[in-house]
C-alpha cells in the first residue's frame, strides 16, 4: 500500500516492552464499581436506578440525554449502593455524579437486545441505533459517542473507514494486545461500521513497531477483499486522526473540518471490537482493556477491567507500586492527563494508567529559550511554538491566535523536544482556554447588544404608535370641537 509522508513528529522512547508481551488478563471483580454518568464528550447520562435497586450485568442504568451523549450499563450484577458524587478521573479531581454498584459475585447477564443476525443486510439506522444503545464511545481516549460518527455517511461521500491501530503513545499496548488476541472481532466490527457508513473500503493503520499485531490483523483481513492492513512508519503523532488519514490517503483535512470531508472516518481498533460485541451479541460496552505500566508499577499488565473499577484496584492487581511515582497519568505520557489520585474509576476512555518515575519523565526546570527551532521543525501542524509561547508569556493572546495556537492539538512534540524544557503545551492550553472563554464572552455580549437594540427598536415603535394615537385623538378632538363650534 502506498503511504504518504506526514509533517514533523518525534521518536520518543516507546517503552512498550514493559507490557507488550503480557497477554490480556481479566481483573478480579472488585468489591465496588463506580460508574460516572459522564464518561464521554457531550451531555451526561441520566441515572435510571436508585439506591437499593438490583441490577443485572449489561442492564442500562443511565440513559443518554440528547443526540451527543451515551448511556451507561451495569458491568456486573449486583445492588446499587448509592448514586453519589465522587472524584472524577479528571485533572481537577472534582466530584461528579456516579452510580456505585456492589457486585453480588454472580455476574449474571440481564436481558440483552437481540443480536443483529445479518448486520450487512441491516440498515445504517439499525446499526447506529444499536451502537448508541450500547454506550459505545471512542475508546482511543477521545470518547466521542461512536453512533454520531457512524452517521457521517449521510452527508459525506466516504471512501475509507480507517481503523486506528497506530497506538503511537509510548507505554500503551492495549490496542496492540486487542489486535493480536481479538483480530477477528476487530475486523468484524470494522466491516459492520464500514457497512453502516457506506464506506467501500476498510484500512487498518498500525505502526510498524507492532509486527505481531500487523500479522494477526493481516490474517483476519485476508478473507475480506475490502479490508487492508497498512503498516505505517513509527512517527509520533501518527495516531492522531488527521495525521493517520494523511499518511493513508495523502489528503490533508482542512482546518476545523472533519476527516469525513476528505472521505475518511477514523475509529479506534478497540471501538471496532466493542461494535462487534454490541451488534453480534447485544452486549453493551461494560469493560475495556487498560495498560497499567510505568517503572513505578511492580508488574505492568494489560488488564480487561470492568468500567468503574478503581485505579487502585488495577494497581493492586499489578502487585502495587514499587516506589512513590513522580507522576500518575491517565492515558499515554504524551497526551494523557494527570490523575488526581488512585481513587478514581476506570472509564470508557481510559487506555492506560501510568505510574512514572522521575527518571522516566525527565522533568527538569525550564530555562530560557535559545531559539534552536527544533519545535518548528517537528510541529506536525506546521506551527511556530517558539513564537506562540513568547507572545503568550506576554499575554498577547490575539497574536498567538493569529499564529494559529487554536490549530494546535496538544500532541506534546514541541515540549518533548525542547532542550530548555519549556512546558510549551501548558502555554498553548492556557491560551486556548482563555481565547475560547473570551469568544464565549464576546458572543454573549453580542447577544446582549442585539437584544438591547431590538428592545430599543420595539420601545421606539411603541412610543411612535402612542404618539400617532395621541395625535389622532387630538385631531379628532379638535375636529369635534370645531364641529361643535361650527354647530
Amino acid at each position: 500500500m502506498k503511504l504518504f509522508p506526514i509533517r514533523g513528529g518525534i521518536h520518543p522512547e516507546y517503552r512498550k516492552e514493559l507490557s507488550s508481551e503480557k497477554a490480556i488478563v481479566a481483573l478480579p471483580m472488585p468489591a465496588e464499581l463506580f460508574i460516572p454518568l459522564q464518561q464521554h464528550i457531550g451531555a451526561p447520562a441520566e441515572a435510571m436506578v436508585r439506591e437499593g435497586d438490583l441490577v443485572k450485568k449489561g442492564q442500562m442504568i443511565a440513559r443518554s440525554q440528547g443526540v451527543v451523549s451515551a448511556p451507561q450499563h451495569a458491568p456486573t450484577s449486583g445492588r446499587v449502593k448509592a448514586v453519589a458524587q465522587i472524584a472524577a478521573p479528571h485533572p481537577s479531581g472534582l466530584p461528579q455524579p456516579t452510580i456505585i454498584i456492589e457486585p453480588d459475585g454472580k455476574d449474571e447477564w440481564g436481558e440483552l437486545p437481540a443480536p443483529i443476525t445479518d448486520p450487512f443486510a441491516a440498515s445504517r439506522e439499525e446499526i447506529s441505533e444499536r451502537v448508541a444503545l450500547s454506550g459505545i464511545v471512542g475508546m482511543g481516549g477521545a470518547t466521542f459517542p461512536s453512533a454520531v460518527k457512524l452517521n457521517l455517511g449521510i452527508q459525506h461521500k466516504l471512501e475509507i473507514l480507517l481503523i486506528n491501530g497506530a497506538e503511537c503513545e509510548p507505554y500503551l499496548t492495549c490496542d496492540d494486545r486487542v489486535m493480536r488476541e481479538y483480530a477477528d472481532e476487530v475486523v468484524d466490527g470494522a466491516r459492520i461500521m464500514a457497512h453502516a457508513l457506506g464506506a467501500p473500503k476498510v484500512v487498518i493503520g498500525i505502526e510498524d513497531n507492532k509486527p505481531q499485531a500487523i500479522a494477526a490483523m493481516n490474517k483476519a483481513a485476508a478473507a475480506h477483499a475490502n479490508v487492508e492492513v497498512a503498516a505505517v512508519p513509527v512517527q509520533y503523532p501518527m495516531g492522531a486522526e488527521r495525521q493517520l488519514a494523511q499518511a493513508i490517503t495523502g489528503r490533508e483535512t482542512p482546518v476545523r473540518k472533519l476527516t469525513a470531508e476528505i472521505g475518511v472516518v477514523v475509529h479506534n481498533a478497540a471501538t471496532a471490537r466493542a461494535v462487534h460485541h454490541a451488534v453480534r451479541f447485544g452486549r453493551p460496552l461494560i469493560s475495556r482493556v487498560v495498560t497499567v505500566s510505568g517503572k513505578a508499577v511492580r508488574e505492568p499488565k494489560n488488564i480487561e477491567a470492568p468500567i468503574g473499577a478503581m485505579v487502585s484496584d488495577l494497581i493492586a492487581f499489578c502487585g502495587g507500586l514499587s516506589t512513590t511515582p513522580w507522576r500518575l497519568v491517565n492515558g499515554g505520557p504524551m497526551m494523557g492527563a494527570p490523575l488526581p489520585s488512585l481513587e478514581t474509576p476506570v472509564v470508557k476512555g481510559t487506555s492506560g494508567i501510568l505510574a512514572l518515575t522521575v527518571e522516566e519523565t525527565n522533568d527538569q526546570p525550564a530555562s530560557p529559550c535559545i531559539r534552536c527551532g527544533a519545535c518548528v521543525t517537528i510541529c506536525p501542524c506546521g506551527l511556530v511554538p517558539v513564537e506562540m509561547s513568547a507572545f503568550i508569556r506576554k499575554d498577547h493572546l490575539d497574536v498567538a491566535a493569529k499564529l494559529g495556537v487554536q490549530d494546535c492539538f496538544s500532541c506534546g512534540s514541541c515540549s518533548w523536544v525542547c532542550p530548555s524544557h519549556i512546558p510549551l503545551v501548558q502555554y498553548f492550553n492556557y491560551a486556548k482556554g482563555m481565547l475560547s472563554a473570551q469568544a464565549r464572552e464576546a458572543s454573549k455580549n453580542e447577544r446582549v447588544k442585539t437584544l438591547a437594540e431590538a428592545r430599543n427598536i420595539r420601545l421606539e415603535k411603541a412610543a411612535e404608535a402612542k404618539r400617532a394615537m395621541l395625535a389622532a385623538k387630538k385631531a379628532q378632538a379638535t375636529s369635534q370641537s370645531e364641529n361643535k363650534a361650527s354647530a
Binding site: P170, R251, R327, S341, C372, G404, G412, V417, P419
Partner: protein, 367 residues
C-alpha cells in the same frame, strides 16, 4: 524527592534527552580538534590569550547574572558563555595582547548579550559583536597576524617570551605576516592582479611565507585560530550535522553562495576577483558557516529562513571582501543578517496543517 503527581501541568510526561548544556558542549567538542591544532601551531601566546578570553567571558557572565539578581551557577553551567569566549578567542589574532580578550569579553557578554536580557535574548551574535567592535577600534592590533610557530619547534617563543608577547605587548616585528585575504587585497590595491598574487600560494613560489592551497586547507598559514585550519573546522561542522545540532541549511547556503559568487566573477575577470575555492578556504568562511552563522539565537528558526539567511551571509561576505575596506567580511555579514532574522522569521513561517500558505483553511473538495 517530593511528588508533583497532582500538579495540573499539561502533558507530555516524557521528555527527550536533549538539553541546552548538551547542545553547547557538543559544539565545544566539535571545535576542539581545530582549536587544539591551532593552539599548537601558534604556541604559548595563543594559549594565554585563549585562556584570558574564556576566563574573562565566564567572569563577566557571572558578574552580569549577579547584577541582575539571577542564579549564577545553573546559567554558567549551560556552557553558553564558555562557547562565546571560545569562539571569540578563535577570531582574535593569536598573538594579540591580553586586553583584546578582556575587552572582547566585555563587548560580547555584557554589551551584546546581557543588555538584551541574557541567553536567548540577544539580537546579534556576541562573539561577532566583540570581534567587530575590536576590529573597528583597534585595527592595527586586530590585523597583526603572525606565521605559525608550532610549540616545541626551534623558532617557537619560550614561556617568558610568550608572557611578554601576550601580557607585555611585545610582539616581535619580524614575525608579522599577512593573511591570505589581506595579502591579495593589499596587492590588488597596489595594482597587482589577483591572478598574479594568487600565484604566490603555490609550492613553486619564491615567496616562501605564503601557503599553498594544501597548507591553507590544513591551516599552516597566518590568521586567527579559527581561520586557519579549514579541514579540521569542516570535520567539526560535519560532526555537528551528524549529531543533529545543526542542519545543513545554513552552512551549505553560506559556502554555496560564497563559492558561486567567487567562481562566477573569477570567470568574468580573473585579474580582479579570486576564485570560489579560495574564498571558501580562506578567512573565517568555514568557521563562520558552521559555527557562527548557525548560532541558534541569532539565526532564523525555519529551514526556509535559514537558507535565506545563509545565502545572505555568503553574498555579503563576498561583497565586503571585494568592495569594502576590510579584507575579511564574515563578521560584518553575519551581524547584518542577524538584524534581518526577525523579519526573515516572519516571512518564512511554515504552512500550517489544513491551511493554505496564506493561512486560510484549505478549500473543500478533493483533487
Amino acid at each position: 524527592m517530593s511528588t508533583p503527581h497532582s500538579l495540573p501541568i499539561s502533558a507530555p510526561y516524557a521528555h527527550g534527552a536533549n538539553t541546552v548544556q548538551k547542545t553547547m558542549f557538543t559544539v565545544l567538542l566539535a571545535l576542539l580538534p581545530a582549536t587544539a591544532f591551532n593552539l599548537y601551531l601558534f604556541g604559548w601566546p595563543a594559549i594565554f590569550l585563549f585562556a584570558v578570553t574564556i576566563v574573562a567571558c565566564l567572569a563577566i557572565e557571572a558578574g552580569c547574572l549577579m547584577l541582575g539578581g539571577r542564579r549564577v551557577k545553573p546559567v554558567l553551567a549551560d556552557g553558553s558563555a564558555l562557547l562565546t569566549g571560545w569562539l571569540l578567542a578563535m577570531t582574535l589574532p593569536p598573538w594579540a595582547p591580553w586586553w583584546t580578550g578582556l575587552l572582547g569579553a566585555i563587548f560580547a557578554i555584557a554589551l551584546a548579550k546581557h543588555t538584551f536580557g541574557g541567553i536567548g535574548q540577544n539580537m546579534f551574535n556576541p562573539a561577532m559583536v566583540a570581534r567587530v567592535a575590536l576590529l573597528v577600534s583597534f585595527p592595527v592590533v586586530m590585523t597583526a597576524w603572525v606565521l605559525p610557530h608550532p610549540l616545541l619547534s626551534n623558532d617557537a617563543p619560550g614561556i617568558s617570551q610568550s608572557v611578554a608577547i601576550t601580557f607585555g605587548g611585545k610582539t616581535p616585528d619580524s614575525v608579522s605576516a599577512a593573511s591570505a585575504l589581506g595579502y591579495v587585497k593589499t596587492e590588488l590595491s597596489r595594482g597587482i592582479p589577483v591572478s598574479d598574487s594568487l600565484k604566490e600560494f603555490s609550492r613553486d613560489s619564491k615567496m616562501t611565507h605564503m601557503p599553498d592551497m594544501m597548507d591553507m586547507a590544513w591551516g599552516y598559514k597566518a590568521g586567527s585560530l579559527g581561520e586557519t585550519s579549514a579541514v579540521l573546522i569542516l570535520l567539526g561542522g560535519i560532526f555537528l550535522m551528524i549529531r543533529r545540532v545543526i542542519s545543513w541549511h545554513i552552512p551549505v547556503a553560506v559556502l554555496g553562495s560564497l563559492f558561486a559568487m567567487g567562481a562566477l566573477f573569477n570567470a568574468i575577470d580573473p585579474a580582479r576577483f579570486a576564485p570560489g575555492l579560495f574564498h571558501v578556504l580562506s578567512g573565517a568562511s568555514l568557521l563562520g558557516a558552521f559555527f557562527i552563522a548557525t548560532d541558534y539565537v541569532t539565526s532564523p528558526v525555519s529551514k526556509k529562513g535559514q537558507l535565506i539567511f545563509g545565502v545572505g551571509c555568503g553574498l555579503l561576505t563576498w561583497i565586503i571582501r571585494n568592495f569594502a575596506g576590510y579584507p575579511e567580511g564574515m563578521a560584518f555579514a553575519v551581524l547584518l543578517m542577524n538584524s534581518l532574522t526577525p523579519i526573515i522569521d516572519q516571512y518564512t513561517r511554515p504552512r500550517a496543517y489544513g491551511r493554505t500558505s496564506k493561512g486560510q483553511p484549505l478549500p473543500l473538495g478533493r483533487e
